[in-house]
Subunit: 135 residues, 2 copies
């Protein structure tokens, strides 16, 4: 039996039963990578929960956008579910601008042309979840 | 054509094109309801994004647990994807205890007996996403 418990906290733990794949991790311990898609400016991503964890239905990513930065203006068939952790910005969707701040929720149906812009003075951080294995 | 843009910010907005159902909302503006499932103690829920918003693949909920409170010790076939917004607690899964704090990520595969307990002095707040239309 292969145990795949992932845990980055301080406590000493027993190993889960039944080969469970529970993951309990500080998000800051997950690798952060630059988003290199054309149009991205000052954007980094952490894949917090994905297929690699056995999550086949939807994936949780954390984005960080530097002040003045933005995600690519792009369009794709799948939806986004977003929760803003910190910062201020404008969500651009089909030419409309929606200002937002911390603890805002944003749902974007598939097919809409969209972009997140950091208009604040600090780092913009948000969770963005997508269905399936990702883009 | 019915426009269903939902927006609770200060800005005056144009209405989206193509009848899009974008939602941009302060999470605190979404109704909070007590969780009345047996075993829940001091737990409230906000359905941030759900089928009502046109989100058919997965749903985003926010939970608040008072100090000393807990979610029900329960088991179900679907997975959880959790992000801890604030507070401290212990995630109990199949008898193992996993302490966590703010900005922790927790992935729980389907079928595991589980519970969140608030062991801190403040309110425990976390996002919990589930596939489909939810339980």
């Amino acid at each position: 039996m292969r145990f795949t418990v992932s845990y980055s906290g301080e406590a000493t733990l027993g190993i889960g039963v039944r080969g469970m794949k529970v993951k309990v991790t500080r998000s800051s311990d997950i690798a952060k990578k630059p988003v290199e898609m054309e149009g991205a400016e000052g954007v980094e991503i952490r894949w917090l929960i994905s297929k690699d964890d056995g999550a086949g239905n939807f994936a949780m990513r954390m984005f960080e956008v530097r002040p003045g930065g933005c995600t690519p203006l792009h369009r794709h068939p799948h939806e986004h579910e977003v929760f803003v952790l910190a910062g201020e910005g404008v969500f651009v969707c089909e030419g409309q601008e929606y200002p937002f701040g911390g603890e805002y929720v944003i749902f974007v149906p598939g097919g809409e042309e969209q972009q997140f812009r950091n208009t604040g003075e600090g780092t913009l951080r948000f969770l963005c979840l997508i269905p399936g294995s990702g883009v």
